[in-house]
Amino acid sequence: MASGTAPAPRLPGLSAAGSFGRAALTVLPFLTLAALWQAGSTVLPPYLLPPVTEILGRAATILTTGELLGEVLATVARTLGGLAGAFLLGGLLAALMGRSRLTARLLSPLLTFLQGIPALSWVVFAVIWFRGTEVRIFFIMLVTTLPAFTFQLLDAYRSIPRDLAEMVASFRPRRWQMFSRLVWPAVLPGILTAWKVNLGNASRVVVVAELVGATGGVGYELLQQQQLFDMAGAMAWTLQLVLFVLLVQWAISAIEAAAFRYRAVSERAL
C-alpha cells in the first residue's frame, strides 16, 4: 500500500523553481525592461532614450578607466564613511538610551526632529557651516542617517528576550561577557537590517550632497552629464551607484546567511 504522506505544500508559481529558476525570475524583469528601453531608443532621440548598448558601454568605460573609477570609489568611500560614523554614534546613543529611560525620553524627540529635516536642507546648512568638501559630505551623511540607525539599534537592543538576559545573568558574567555572549549576537540581525535600510538612503543622499557641494564623485559627474544633456552618461553613472548598493546588499546577505544558520526555516516560507 502506498504511503499516505502528503507532499509538502508549495507556493503557486514557484513549485518547479530551483535555484536556476529563481535566478531566471530575478533577471527576467530586468531583461524585459532593457528590451523595452532598447525598442524605445529606436524611435526616440538619444538624449531621451539612448540605446542600452551605449549605456552599458559607457558604464564599462567608467569601471575600467582609472580616473573615472576613482570618482566612483570616492562616492563609495563617502557613503561607507558616513554610514560607519552614523552607526558608531547611533550605537552609542542607542546604548545610552537603552540603559537610561531618562536619556531615551530626552533624545527621542530630538532625533525625531532631526529625522524630519529634508536631506537637501542639510546640504544647504553644511555648505554654509563648513568649508571642506569632505567635512560637508560626512556631516550630511552622518546627520541624515543617524536618527534611523539610533532608533533601529535601540529597537534591536530592547528586543533582547528578557528570559535569555536573566539566564545569562544567572551565571554572573562580567560586563564584557554579557555584551559579547548575549547583546552582540542578539542585536546583530537588527544591525545588519539597519545597514541594509540605511545604505539605500545614504546612496541617495550622497548623490545630492555631491551634486551641490562637491567637485568630484558620482553626484558631481551626474551634474556634468545634465549640463551636457548626455542621458547615456547620466544612466551609466547612476548604474555605478546601483551596482555599489547591490554589491553591499549582497555582502550583507552573505554575512546573514553565514551568521544566522541557526535560524529555523519554515517550509511554508520557502
Binding site: D163, L164, E166, M167, V168, A169, S170, F171, R172, P173, Q177, R181, L182, P185, F260, R261, Y262, R263, A264
Partner: protein, 261 residues
Amino acid sequence: MPEVFDQAPPARQAGPAEIRFEGVSKWYGGSRESGFLAVDAVDLEVRRGELVALLGKTGCGKSTLFNMIAGLQAPSAGTLRVQGHDPFRDFAALRGHISIVFQNDRLLPWRNALDNAAFGLEMMDVPKAERHAKARHWLARLGLHGHEADYPHALSGGMRQRVAIARAFATEAPIMLCDEPFSALDEITASRLRGEFSELVRETGRTAVFITHSIGEALEIGSRIVVLQRPARIAYEATMAGAGEAERTQIRARIRETLAL
C-alpha cells in the same frame, strides 16, 4: 518516621546552611503595608546535599523566593545568605556556585547544543577544550550523544530541556536552583526527566531547591518539602528521607489540606 511540622522548624543540624532565610520579606511598590507583599517573613534553611521542594499554588511567591536566592532580586527586609554571601549585593562572589534550570529551556538560539551546555563554564573562563569535554559528558549522560552540533530549533522540547539541565550540571556548582523545569513538557517526558534529574542531583551531592506546583512532583523529588501559602509564607514542612508508604500518604494528605486553605 519523617518529621512533620505545621510551622517552620528550628535548625535541626549543626553546621553552616548553604541557603539561609531569616525573616525575609519582599514587596513591590511602596511599603509592606501599601505595596504588594509577595514574600512574608520567611525563615528557612537549606543544608548541604538537601533537595528541597518548594511547593505552592501559582502566584504564591515561589518564583520571587527563587529569584532572591539567584541574586536576581533583593529582599525588601530580612537577611538572605547563600554560602555566607548576600546573593544580590555579592553577586559576583557566587560565580560558579549557583546554577539554574528555568521553567523553559532558555537556550541561546545561535549556539548549538554543545556550546549551550558549555555556556556556564565559558562564563567561568574554563578553557574551551575542558568545557567542551565536560559539556559532552553531561549531554551524553542526559541521552543527547550525537546531538552536540544541533541548534535548539532542531531539538524537541524535552531535548532542549535536557540541554538546559546539562548546562546546569556542567558548571559543577554546589547549589542548583530549579524553577518548575518540567512543567512545559508532556507528562511522559517530564516523568522520565524528573527521575533522571533527581538521581543526578543525589549522585553528585548537590544542594538543590526545586520549585513546583505539583504535589506529585514534590513527593517524587524532594528530600524535604516546604509548602508555601500566599503570600509566600511557610505553612507546612515535611522531611521525606526514610518515609515509608504510610507516612508519604499522610504527608500527601497534609499538603492537600494546607494548599486547600
